[in-house]
Each structure stands twice: as C-alpha cells, then as structure tokens.
C-alpha cells in the first residue's frame, strides 16, 4: 500500500460513494451549529418535511450575537434576540443538545467543541462557519460550510465534495521568546498569501508544530482559512491524546483504549507525497502585526508599513494604497510607532486558557496606557472563564485596567454591541482585519495575545520578544 498523507487517510475513511467525475459523498461525524448560519437550514428541512439524520451528531451553541456584559438582562437588540431564540426553539423541538446562554459550558463554538471532547481525532467535523478549520488540530478533517450544506448535513449526514490537493507546511526548529502559534499562522499567510491555500487542505508539521500545545495548534489550524485553505490539520500525538482524556464527550474505559490505538495511526506516512510543501524556520519567525485590510498584509513588529510603490504588481499596488488609506497609515512608518485606541483579547483564534495566561503574564502589575480607551478580555467559553478566575487571571486583568467579559465571538466580528467606532484602531487577537470587520470604519491589527497585552500597556505596538 502506498504512503498516505493524513488528509488522504481522513478522506478515504469517510467516502460513502463517488460520482463518475470524482465528486464524493462524504460522511460527517460531528455537526456543530450556531445561531447565525442555521435558521434557514432548519426552515428548509421543515419546508421539505425532512428530519435530521442523526441528532446525536449535532451540538449547538449561540455565540455570535450574545452580549458579553449584563447577560442576566438578556439580549437588548430584538433582531439578535430573535436569532438566538430561533436556535433555542429549533434545538428544543428536535432534541438537539444545546448549551444555552446561561449554561456554564456556553462559549464560542470552536472553543467548546474541543473543550467538551466533541471534536475527536479521525472525525469529519463541519459547522456553518469558516473557522471550523480549528478542529483539524485534533487530526480531524474539519471545514466550514454554507447554510445549504448545513441543511444537507442535517438531512443526509453527508456532503458532496471533491478531494482537495494536499499542502504540507513544515515548521522546523524552536520558536523564539514571545513568538507564538499566532505568529506562525500570520507568517505562513504572509508567505503564501490569503489565496495561497485555495484548493488545498493544509497539514502543519515539523518539530515546531509538535512542540505546540493543543491551544496553539488550534490557533494555527483556525487561521488555515485565512490562507485560503478550508481545512488545516495536525497529526495526533501524545499532546492530542492527553488533552482529550476525561473530556465529557470523549470515549472512556475500553472504548478509550480502542480509540487511542486508532488515533495513533492518524499521521502522514513516511514518504507520503504532498502537492505542495512550504517550509518555514521557526527561529526566523518574529512577532507579527498586520498593517492592512487582509491577513496577508503583515510584517514583523520590528518592520515598517510597506510602500505601495514597492508592490510586486499593479493590482497589489492599488490594494496596498487603498489599505493604507483605510487604515490611516503612512508608508514606511515603523510598526512600533503605531498608536492604538482599543485592545481586544478573544475570538475562536485566541480565547483559550493558555492565551489568557500569556496575556495576563504580560499585563500583570502594569496598567493600560492612557491613550487606550478600552482593553477587553473575552474568554472563549464559560469554562475558560471559570478556570481563569480560579487562577486569579481576572483580577490581574482588572487591576491592569482591562475589562473582564462573558464568553462569545464579541468584537471579532462585532455582531453584538462590542465594536469599534469609525477610525478607531485596535490591537486584536482575532483572525480578520477586513474593512469594517470590527465595526464600520474600524481599523484592525491582528496580533498574538502577548502582543495585544503589551500594546495595551504601552499604548502602541511593542516587540514582546524584547521585553
């Protein structure tokens, strides 16, 4: 038998049947559901008099619209409230497990899946959300889908798709001080571009990846979609297995042993062929800061805002010029001289316990700079929040002048009340710096939690590797 990539193994084990042109019917093991992309799918099912194929495969949570403060008063915006209530009703009617807003287990869908052990190695995991790539950190084939496909999975437990090409991103060596999985992700995107992974599934490998915690691996796979790849993945190893042990949805006893034996096969075989290989040296990666309106517009913190005149082609030159104008930046400005107005530590990229510990370690005993109007920390789930409070991180943040909020997507996409005002500049641990993403006219700089905390304290970007 020829050597297989991890992606081949995951793909092959889920093919139910195949069309003549290679379009395959793929079986879906886990379907995560949130309030924004599901109502039309539930409605479609109802109109067609169909029932969900396997309700036990579904886990639902409201995260995009939920408030991060004053939650006991409910959701003020009637349109947001209706969307969350619609999810509640749909789940209740069909008997789907849902963590409601008052549930301690509620949180961002891509944080709670792994936290509950609902994401397991060898699974196919889908959700009507592009950041579903996060779950690939567990050697799962996980990708975002649209609402039509949400309905398709509900009705058939399957999806129709073609196998993507396989890309390996190899990161060898040891990361420097203050350099994180987020910086690897941004460095990869800076290197291959936001369309570099289009048509590919990316496997992250190499000694620097193996050294990452599960939280770091999730951060990295989360941003595979920002490199254009629907799916990112990492081989299962001891780190994966020890993270999962004892989680509520994970197997136990004899079943656990059997599962672990299988999970240990979930890696690319020696000699497996990839359609493309990209290499990065861990030691050369510096803390990253985006300067523009696409995640590929990124430089190291000791760099400068680029000059559109030096862009490689005319389309890019216009792109860069438009981005600088939107961002209110001048070419050649040192990144460390960019002052910020707000700080957001949160999102499905960076709101796990390790992220909060790292940010708290930078902020401890210091205070948010006078020019920073708001620095907020939004834990990824109620359980992350509880753990952080147990460790006293909340007190550290509050003493340093940060706001300590309730879990949700919050200012990553600003669907709730957490948003930037026009022209405000934010150091954000989220995943997208698109125009208007954090609020109309808002200016987003993507960074790691350490970098965001350090920027909050200094009032401008600083190189955490030099602290």
């Amino acid at each position: 038998m020829s050597a297989k990539t991890l992606y081949d193994k995951l793909w092959d084990s889920h093919v139910v049947r195949q069309e003549a042109d290679g379009t395959a019917q793929i079986y879906i093991d886990r379907h995560l559901v949130h309030e924004v992309t599901s109502p039309q799918a539930f409605e479609g099912l109802r109109l067609a008099h169909r029932k969900p194929w396997r309700i036990a495969s579904m886990l639902a949570v409201a995260d995009h619209n939920v408030p991060t403060t004053g939650r006991d008063k409910g959701i003020a915006d009637p349109i947001s409230r209706l969307q969350v209530e619609t999810l509640d009703q749909n789940c209740e009617e069909l008997g789907i497990t849902e963590f409601r807003m008052a549930d301690l287990r509620q949180g961002i869908v891509h944080v709670i899946g792994p936290e509950q052990g609902a994401t397991l190695p060898g699974m196919t995991v889908v959700c009507g959300d592009s950041h579903t790539s996060t779950h690939g950190a567990f050697a799962a084939l996980a990708f975002g889908i649209g609402t039509s496909e949400v309905e398709h999975v509900m009705a058939t437990q399957c999806l129709l798709m073609k196998q993507a090409k396989a890309m390996q991103v190899l990161v060898e060596g040891v990361l420097g001080k203050g350099v994180t999985a987020k910086d690897i992700a941004l460095a990869v995107i800076g290197k291959i571009g936001t369309a570099g992974g289009t048509g590919y599934a990316i496997e992250f490998a190499g000694s620097a990846i193996r050294a990452l915690s599960m939280e770091g691996r999730m951060t990295l796979c989360n941003m595979a979609i920002e490199a254009g790849a629907r799916a990112g993945m990492i081989a299962a190893d001891d780190t994966t297995i020890s993270y999962l042990k004892g989680r509520p949805f994970a197997p136990q006893g004899e079943s656990w042993d059997k599962a672990v034996a299988y999970w240990r096969t979930l890696h690319s075989d020696d000699g497996a062929q990839f359609d493309k290989v990209v290499r990065l040296a861990a030691a050369e990666i510096k803390p990253q800061v985006t300067w523009g309106t696409s995640p590929e517009m990124v430089v190291a913190v000791d760099g400068r805002v680029p000059d559109p005149a030096s862009a490689p082609d005319e389309v890019k030159r216009q792109d860069w010029a438009r981005a600088l104008q939107y961002m209110g930046l001048t070419a050649n400005t040192p990144i460390s001289e960019i002052k910020i107005d707000k700080v957001f530590i949160g999102s499905c990229t960076n709101a796990r316990i390790e992220d909060l510990r790292a940010a708290a370690a930078v902020a401890r005993g210091k205070h948010v700079a006078a020019n920073v109007k708001l620095a907020m920390v939004v834990p990824g789930s109620g359980l992350v929040k509880q753990q952080a409070e147990h460790e006293g991180l909340d007190k550290m943040f509050v003493a340093a002048g940060f706001e300590w909020r309730d879990p949700g997507c919050s200012m990553c996409l600003a669907m709730n009340d957490d948003r930037l005002a026009p022209g405000e500049r934010c150091a954000s641990t989220s995943n997208r710096n698109f125009e208007g993403r954090q609020g109309p006219g808002g200016r987003t700089h993507l960074v790691s939690p350490e970098m965001a905390a350090a920027a909050a304290i200094a009032g401008h970007f600083v190189d955490v590797s030099k602290l």
Partner: protein, 212 residues
Amino acid sequence: MRKFTVLDGLVTPLDRANVDTDAIIPKQFLKSIKRSGFGPNAFDEWRYLDHGEPGMDNSKRPLNKDFVLNQPRYQGAQVLLARENFGCGSSREHAPWALEDYGLRAIIAPSFADIFFNNCFKNGLLPIRLDAASVDALFKAVEATPGYRLRIDLEQQTITAPDGTVYRFEVEAFRKHCLLNGLDDIGLTLQHVDEIKVYEQKRREQQPWLFA
C-alpha cells in the same frame, strides 16, 4: 434551485482583489433568519454613504456615487467581473444570497475562495474562473464599451464577447449537471439512503465511540 443554461447579461466590473464576504454582506444583516431580501444590502458599506442597519428603507439612503455598481451604465447587470480571491473570508451563504438577490447570475474572476465558490452553485449562481490575462482584457473592454454584455453558455462552457472572442471555462461535471437542471443536492443524496446506512453501520462497528 433556479436553472442556469444560457445567460446574455450586462457586465459590471469590480476592480479589486480579495473582496471578502464581510464586504459583500456586512455582519449586521446576518441577523436575519430568512434567506431572501439581502440584495439591497449587497456591498452595503461601499454602496451607501451612511451606515446601514437591518430594517432601514434602503431606497431613501444616500448612495456612494463613486462606487462602480452605482453608476447608471451598470444598472441591471447580471454578470460581475472581479479580481483574484473573490469571496474570501467568512463562510456566510448570505453573500451569494445577496448577490443573487441583487440580480447577478454569474461572476467571472481569476480565482475564488473555496467556500464561497461552493456556496454559489447551491444558489443558481455560476462562478467562472478565467485566467488573469483574459480577465484583464475583459476589464478593459467593459470599461471602454458602455452596455458591454457577455453571453455565457454553461452547456458549451463558453463565454462569448461582443467582438466574437470566445473564452472557454472549466466546470466540474457534477456541478454543471446540477446547475443545468436546477437539481436539489439533498434530493440527489437521498437517492442513496441505503449506501449511507451501510456505511454508517460499518463505521458504528469500527469506531463505536463516535456513536455513543
């Protein structure tokens, strides 16, 4: 789903790369629990001078005259000409819903983001990948020719320009079949219920922990 066979449509250009789905339909409109009515808010932040919120009367809002889709010559366009990586970012299917509701039936670009590309086919919207040089030529032609139309024939996989130039494009056979016939994916998959059950049973035996 609406069939797509042959389209002879007015073309509108959108000359920027990496147009993301947040730009195509901003997040505040995603709060709707319906599938229709997103057209007036397609490209909302570029298209209007004020900030849009759900429930506003869009016909009374101030238009950004500088935004290309607002130019009188492009009103009623059914074909969008775009640059690389169109539809990147969020998986929101509200993006193709908004474009379709706006009146578009086809999008031509050098490349598309995967999820958006896939979502288009579920909504009778044809995304066409053409090489960058051809897209460049089309941008120049559209700019130079008021009322510029293209004839798109899905069966033949061709785009015919007014000067007779024919561009061939690729489309996966299965997607083409579904779009030409307006077929519902779910209905097709459910023709194979027995095979799904057989697969599921095997999986249940091999990896019982997935079904606990």
